[in-house]
């Protein structure tokens, strides 16, 4: 077959590290983030592998540190693919036993309360208070405005019954 001359335009400023090295050094942290989002070890691994697979398809095009890219893909995948996956949840007449124990600690209550947060609010809480991202970094990662991050965070903290003064502080940020 006659050779085909092809010209292309792609802008790259740096090469991504080896995929295996990246997975070896960074994926445990990502797995923990995925676990805080999904609250299930198996689903967390599934979510992480999906994000890594998508990153692998674009690996040669990722500029510099791929952590931000994979992180963004993971959160975005959680927000979209997960929504479809959970569409087949069925209602039931009998609620499962919550295993309520009056002696459980406040920390346990907080973990349970985190599980009741809407997906978007939980994502903001994990990114802000586990990943220690700023409001601006969180907004860039989620592809939304800083104001949205602030309002989602304030609502989530209110539901979690976090210290009233801190909630007021978060609300104050929104007003600003």
């Amino acid at each position: 077959m006659e050779a085909v001359e092809v010209t292309g335009r792609r802008v790259r400023t740096g090469a991504a590290p080896d995929f295996d090295d990246f997975v070896a050094t960074c994926s445990t942290r990502l797995l923990r983030t995925a676990y805080l989002l999904t609250r299930d070890r198996g689903r967390a691994e599934d979510l992480l592998q999906t994000a890594l697979a998508k990153a692998w398809l674009s690996w040669s095009r990722i500029e510099g540190d791929p952590m931000a890219y994979v992180h963004k893909t993971l959160v975005n995948t959680y927000a979209t693919w997960w929504r479809r996956r959970w569409n087949d949840e069925r209602p039931t007449l009998e609620l499962p036993d919550p295993g309520y124990d009056e002696d459980r600690t406040a920390t346990h209550d907080l973990w349970a309360a985190l599980g009741r947060l809407p997906r978007g609010q939980r994502t903001v809480i994990v990114l802000r208070y586990f990943e220690d991202l700023s409001e601006g970094e969180t907004a860039r990662l989620l592809g939304c405005s800083v104001g949205t991050v602030k309002s989602q965070c304030a609502k989530a903290l209110s539901k979690l019954k976090i210290d009233g003064a801190l909630v007021d502080e978060a609300r104050g940020e929104v007003a600003q």
Binding site: V11, R41, K54, W56, S58, R61, T73, N76, L110, L157
Partner: protein, 312 residues
Amino acid sequence: MSIQDLQDTLREHAGAVDDTGLIVRAAAARRRASSIRHRRALAAVAAAAIVLPIAGMAALGVNPLHRSAQVVKPIDPAPHLFVGAFAGRTLIDSEVVTARSEVVLTAQESRNTEWRAMCRGVGSEYTLHMSLDDGEPGELPCDVELLSGRWIAYQLGPEYPLQRQHTLRVWLTRTSDGAKVAPPQGHLGAAVYRIPDPVATVAGHQVQGLEVDRGKEFRMTSYEESEAGDRVFSSTYVAGDLPIEVDWYTSGTGRQNVQVYVDGRPETTLPLGEGGPGLVLAPGRQHTVKLRVLDTAPPDTLLGFVWREQVP
């Protein structure tokens, strides 16, 4: 409770996660990537087969998506649905049936193959379906007939093993009620072709150097690809003395649709993740095409164009 309590809770539960899958994770991700690429290839070619006839009918001044549009009747139905070679492809095997609702083709071929389904002369009231290895089916309505017949195809790229058995199932249904039926006339066929290595990957889709539209070969001359996360991407090309073809490709993790504009006019929409051969455009003038994601673009969105020139 305080913010510190919240952070402690998050760290405690995250820290309790025992990462037992680290050693095999990279390999597992690659396997999953291969599956995603396969699905994208299926979607891309399925979309291409739908878009190509639109391109052809646009050139004839007929809108095939409009139900009252003129239907071009098939000409001289013949059993020779699959030519031996075209656009770098070489026929490996084929099966053609008449007055039957289904045809099945099995072959020990995998890497760089294209699996084609085609109907010809069956009439406009049917829908053509195909499925490779019982995977995601593709379909194409038979309500507008091109001179070259109706076809749809799956491509398996160079990442597949050289030889592995695949089975292509092709069938017809009556569009009005979805019933699987044997048409009284015309032909239904399945074929597998050897195809060259792709010359580029554009927005996650492997692209062939040559494509055919209405019997004319078009050779890829350039491609352009957006930055990840771009919502809008456009490209301009100046056609010479012969017609040119533009193909559009998209990828991303969302469920958004993408609007295609050609020379300022909305042309069609496609789901994010799909793409394929698009339109044949007039010679002797400049053409501009644009893709716009309808809604927020996911961060891994890629948009791309391939430009081809007709081979003299």
